[in-house]
């Protein structure tokens, strides 16, 4: 159930590989791993996007992510989970968020992973500011709904 807010780029697949090979990982009991990775696109609302800056509320962000992580672990009986989220300046293709959950069964893994992403997108205090390819900048006003 670790959560991390990261100031610099991360490789989601490398992080998952490292995380799963920890000696204390619940190896033999895992039957299902569900992962979501959100990546910065080079377009939004029909405009080209050149860069993005992600702001957050230090303390509240981590506290909120830890709370939903613990809630998902309890609600779906997860064996483990991991949430990583970038802040700072991002370039197109940079990973923004990783949510991974480990479970004995797939139904729980799928549902918990999606629920965590929706909770994160609707309430975790992060804000995106886009720099467009024409040089102008704008705040992203709201996230699309995921269900």
């Amino acid at each position: 159930m670790p959560v991390e807010v990261l100031e610099s780029p991360f490789n989601p697949w490398q992080r998952l590989q490292d995380y799963e090979t920890r000696p204390e990982a619940p190896h033999g009991r895992i039957g299902a791993t569900a992962v979501f990775v959100g990546t910065m696109r080079d377009f939004n609302l029909d405009d080209g996007v050149a860069a993005m800056t992600l702001e957050h509320y230090p303390g509240m962000t981590e506290g909120y992510l830890e709370r939903i992580s613990a809630e998902a672990d309890a609600r779906w009986g997860l064996l483990d989970s991991l949430i990583l989220h970038r802040v700072g300046r991002l370039a197109p293709q940079d990973p923004i968020v990783l949510v991974a959950v480990w479970s004995s069964h797939r139904r729980e893994a799928f549902e918990a992973c999606r629920w965590l992403m929706e909770e994160l997108k609707s309430k975790a205090p992060f804000w995106k500011r886009e720099t467009l390819t024409d040089g102008s900048a704008r705040w992203v006003e709201e996230n699309t709904r995921g269900y």
Binding site: M60, H85, K121, K123, A124, P125, F126, W127, N143
Partner: protein, 77 residues
Amino acid sequence: MWVKVKFFASLRELMNRADARVELPEGGSVEDVWLAASDGREKPANVLAAVNMEYVDFSAPVRDGDEVAFFPPVTGG
């Protein structure tokens, strides 16, 4: 009593500050904190509030020493 105030993202730009410290009478609410910290600016639609890093309604009470944050809808993930 005194409370710490924080503004984030577009609201920080609109208010032209990230932090403030305001004094208000005991028994005040988050709404009162907004009035005291906003120099009379109208509250934008959709603005959210947190007290001590927990989401609250604008009617929630605040206490001396609280940290009250205002911010626009979140756009992470």
